[in-house]
């Protein structure tokens, strides 16, 4: 079973959750990232996600390793979708199971924040009046000139 996966197919939440369910677990948290229609008043028509698939799966697995260092009893599964996604489609599902709920919430939050830092996946917004690659993890800015500038550079 693959716990850390990039797919170009719709994600089954149930399938990701089942990967982490086990007798030791008393809590399972899921994070489900969906495609938002409005960002700062601007209407998204659809998104295109692209990934460096082989490396992205490795980085997802690395996040799993980091979580086990911090929450040794956690089990983690992450699936991220790429390709064209419509409004409300599921882009990412993170499932974490732990013996107790606090760790499951914290570890799940850790996973999504790390995805936005280190996993080579990019999204392109298709607006009514154009397209833009989203260029930073805050999802608030893009690079109309095609490259990061000024305060945006990481």
């Amino acid at each position: 079973m693959k716990f850390f996966t990039i797919t170009d197919r719709p994600i089954s939440i149930e399938e990701v959750v089942h990967k982490v369910i086990r007798p030791e677990a008393g809590a399972v948290t899921t994070f489900i990232g969906t495609v938002r229609e409005l960002t700062n008043g601007k209407r998204t028509l659809f998104l295109q996600y692209e990934a460096y698939v082989s490396m992205a799966e490795k980085m997802l697995a690395q996040i799993g390793t980091e979580i086990k260092e911090r929450w040794p009893e956690a089990e983690v599964a992450i699936t991220h979708r790429i390709g064209r996604l419509e409004i409300s489609d599921i882009a990412v599902v993170i499932a974490v199971s732990t013996p107790h709920r606090k760790d499951a919430y914290e570890a799940n939050r850790y996973a999504i924040e790390r995805i936005k830092q280190i996993v080579p996946i990019w999204k392109k917004e298709y607006w009514e009046d154009g397209t833009e690659w989203v260029g930073n993890q805050l999802e608030t800015k893009a690079y109309p000139t095609g490259k990061p500038e000024g305060e945006d550079v990481v």
Partner: protein
């Protein structure tokens, strides 16, 4: 020979997702400077992965390496 991979806006700007370069002992930083001048790109803040692991600017490239240019990521 090394293989270069481009993603997102870099792929669109360069018009290719893959380039082959015949180079001898060059650092990541030198490669970035070389590409920046050839394609008029600002790569200063683009991360680089060598063979699927993030690499620092002083990493020395070797024949057979796969070098990926990684713009700020926006998954999730």
């Amino acid at each position: 020979m090394i293989t270069l991979l481009f993603f997102a806006y870099l792929k669109e700007t360069i018009g290719k997702e893959r380039l082959q370069l015949g180079i001898s002992a060059m650092t990541v930083k030198e490669l970035k400077q070389h590409l920046a001048s050839d394609y008029g790109l600002d790569l200063q803040h683009v991360m680089v992965a060598v063979n699927e692991e993030y690499a620092a600017d002083d990493r020395v490239l070797q024949a057979g390496d796969i070098v990926a240019f990684i713009p700020p990521v926006s998954g999730g």
